[in-house]
């Protein structure tokens, strides 16, 4: 074991010694990385930093609620202009849009999965960020 960095390598050529060192280093790095990764998974799902994800999620929610409402009212208003039914479709789509907005928020907070169904199969990470 201890003969590895010994005399045979050094007098022959530097490169083979360097290569052996590098292999050794590579193995140590990958072992440590695997260990690290396991600990990360244990701690908070994945390597993406839990705090960052929390703030990122908080920033999502408001826009999700508002945008669905905007789209709903927009579709309703457009259909009203087209079909000459002002203001009924806009009223209906206002409520549909609110529903979609609340659905978006629920999804982005991970309280329900996308289209439910495989809720249990989601990795903790993708659940965190909603779907």
């Amino acid at each position: 074991m201890s003969e590895n960095p010994g005399p045979q390598n050094t007098n022959n050529e530097k490169t083979s010694g360097d290569l052996a060192d590098l292999d050794n280093l590579g193995q140590r790095i990958s072992a440590l990385r695997a260990q690290n990764h396991k600990e990360d998974l244990k701690n908070h799902g994945s390597e993406g930093g839990a705090e960052n994800q929390g703030i990122a999620q908080a920033m999502r929610v408001g826009a999700e609620l508002l945008s669905a409402l905007m789209v709903g009212v927009g579709i309703g208003w457009g259909l009203d202009q087209w079909l000459d039914t002002t203001p009924w479709l806009m009223l209906i789509f206002f409520f549909l849009g609110s529903g979609a907005g609340i659905l978006n928020v629920y999804r982005s907070t991970g309280l329900i999965g996308a289209n439910d169904g495989e809720k249990g199969n989601n990795t903790p990470d993708s659940n965190d960020l909603g779907k």
Partner: protein, 241 residues
Amino acid sequence: MANPIEQFTIRPLVEINLGGIDATFTNAGAFMLLTVASVTLFLTLSMRGRALVPGRWQSMAELSYEFIAGLLRDNVGSEGRRFFPFVFTLFMFILFANMLGLMPYSFTITSHIIVTFILAMVVFIGVTVVGLLRHGVKFFSYFVPSGVPMAVLPLMIPIEIISYLSRPISLSVRLFANMTAGHIMMKVFAGFVIPLGIFGGWAPLGVDVLLVGFEFLVAFLQAYVFTVLTCLYLHDAIHLH
């Protein structure tokens, strides 16, 4: 006091008229080119050494690569690999646009809703096309939630469709609103510094120092959120739910 909105003015640099279409080169266009150029320079120059043990610049480039690769792996899975070039480009473009916008005297292209809306539409249309190519007509089953009683379906399907259509709006409004609000806030506080004089001026100056730090966080987070959502939409398109 300086007008806090003035920083968003689009100024023509070179007037170009293509057969009646106004294609003037503006400061927004200039900063987009600057963003692309600085991303390209950052990545090519920092990777030029290709050292086995990376230096500072090279490890920054490698970190950004691994960050996005990990994001794709976690959120999309192995099928997401082929979308890496697009997602990485998107992330670097938004990140550098946001960061360059924080430099003094610069212009923030992501503070214009039309820029963020086009970015979001590229993602939205691209993801829809990916879903359609992969699943054909079955893609539309995405709008039919599973495990819902038949009676509620007429209500749920429109809601699901509105929810799907709201994606580009929420993507673009979030990025635009955060960048615009942050820059206006910094300008408003900066506008108080001189009028309040040598004694009172320190308070808004201190707030502004904090805000600059906060804005760097927001600049990164918004690029991150945009990218994560792109990944999630890709996941939905590939796996349908």
